[in-house]
Symmetry: C2
């Protein structure tokens, strides 16, 4: 028997390969079900590499969680900032980004929930969650404030924060139930639904976020 042929990759390439393989396996099999061997196979390498690059399985899984959270926030952030037309536009597209692919995905929600389930009992996960949540709230506040300003609404720091907490709750909840797609309604209604709900949550005049446009 000859050895497996292999190609050397750069540190970043190999790490990313392993991180994505880890996420794929965690989604399909859960945290413990995603064994080092399965992850390695998914990545097209052998199990020893996990130790080489991440020290241990735990190191890999923790990094994968941070990687996932970064992906989710960056996607919504990027899509919001593509629109320089105004505050309403940015907030609208931020909301839409959370209710459409690639963020509205069963796999991503499965991963997110699986990790969230461990936050209470694992301080590494707790740190990643807290930081991600704080960043997300801050980002939301920065999107909400100018919208309130444009409509001459109260926009104190405390006011913005409360709005951000509530709006984040709405996003999280709709994102999760919508991604799981229980079949009780079509995912296609979610963008419109969250925009209307967001308008009401922020006390904006009806239609001010949808801007008259219909997204298809």
């Amino acid at each position: 028997m000859s050895r497996k042929a292999f190609r050397r990759l750069t540190l970043d390439e190999r790490k990313r390969t392993l991180l994505e393989a880890a996420l794929t396996c965690v989604a399909q099999e859960g945290l413990k079900g995603a064994t080092v061997r399965r992850i390695a196979e998914e990545a097209g390498v052998t199990a020893g590499l996990v130790r080489h690059y991440f020290g241990s399985k735990n190191g890999l899984i923790t990094s994968a969680y941070a990687y996932l959270i970064g992906q989710l926030t960056a996607e919504a952030d990027t899509r919001a900032r593509q629109f320089t037309g105004g505050a309403n536009d940015q907030l609208r597209h931020f909301l839409i980004a959370n209710m459409t692919m690639p963020n509205l995905s069963e796999e991503k929600v499965s991963l997110w929930a699986t990790f969230i389930g461990r936050v209470r009992y694992d301080t590494d996960f707790a740190d990643i969650h807290r930081e991600g949540y704080r960043d997300y709230l801050t980002l939301l506040e920065s999107l909400i404030e100018p919208v309130l300003a444009a409509h001459d609404l109260p926009r104190s720091s405390a006011e913005c924060r409360r709005h951000a907490i509530a709006l984040n709750g709405l996003i999280d909840g709709l994102w999760m139930e919508g991604s799981l797609n229980s079949g009780l309604y079509s995912r296609a209604i979610l963008p419109d639904l969250i925009i209307e709900a967001g308008e009401r949550l922020l006390n904006l005049p009806a239609g001010s976020l949808s801007g008259g446009k219909q997204h298809t």
Copy 2:
């Protein structure tokens, strides 16, 4: 060495003991980390009983998920129906029930998330989730409709459903982030926050849900 002394329990008692031990272990160790032996120890019995009462570990875990969902919904439902004073009261206390103990609990959220993470890949879990979600939406609609009626607002079936979907999202999201208690704000603000947000989400006049009362 003599055998362990034991007491026979009725079928329901023993099952409930095992279900609760299973939930405790799943919360602490995750789905695979909650081994049959650990669950049995937590329940004060030996591992063989799991097979005797639930056929397999999977049977126990699946039952435990259904048991948890039933608990969560029943708690909020019961607390809402304690108030016969009117529709506003009932909806208010339903919302509060989701933002206070025992439902607002890190352990319960950890469990919920852990199970949700498997919904996509396990049809048994998917069935339990779909049914639970459907029941919850139906319950919410039944609470929302009379409130809309009391305020002379549009309350078609479609309207109520959209409101229920959005309000459920808000509840889920706030419940989850609030329970995890990242330390970014106090949980104590959640009941007021969800009531105000709920009012806006349903287009109710400000203060109509809080009814002037402050809950302490």
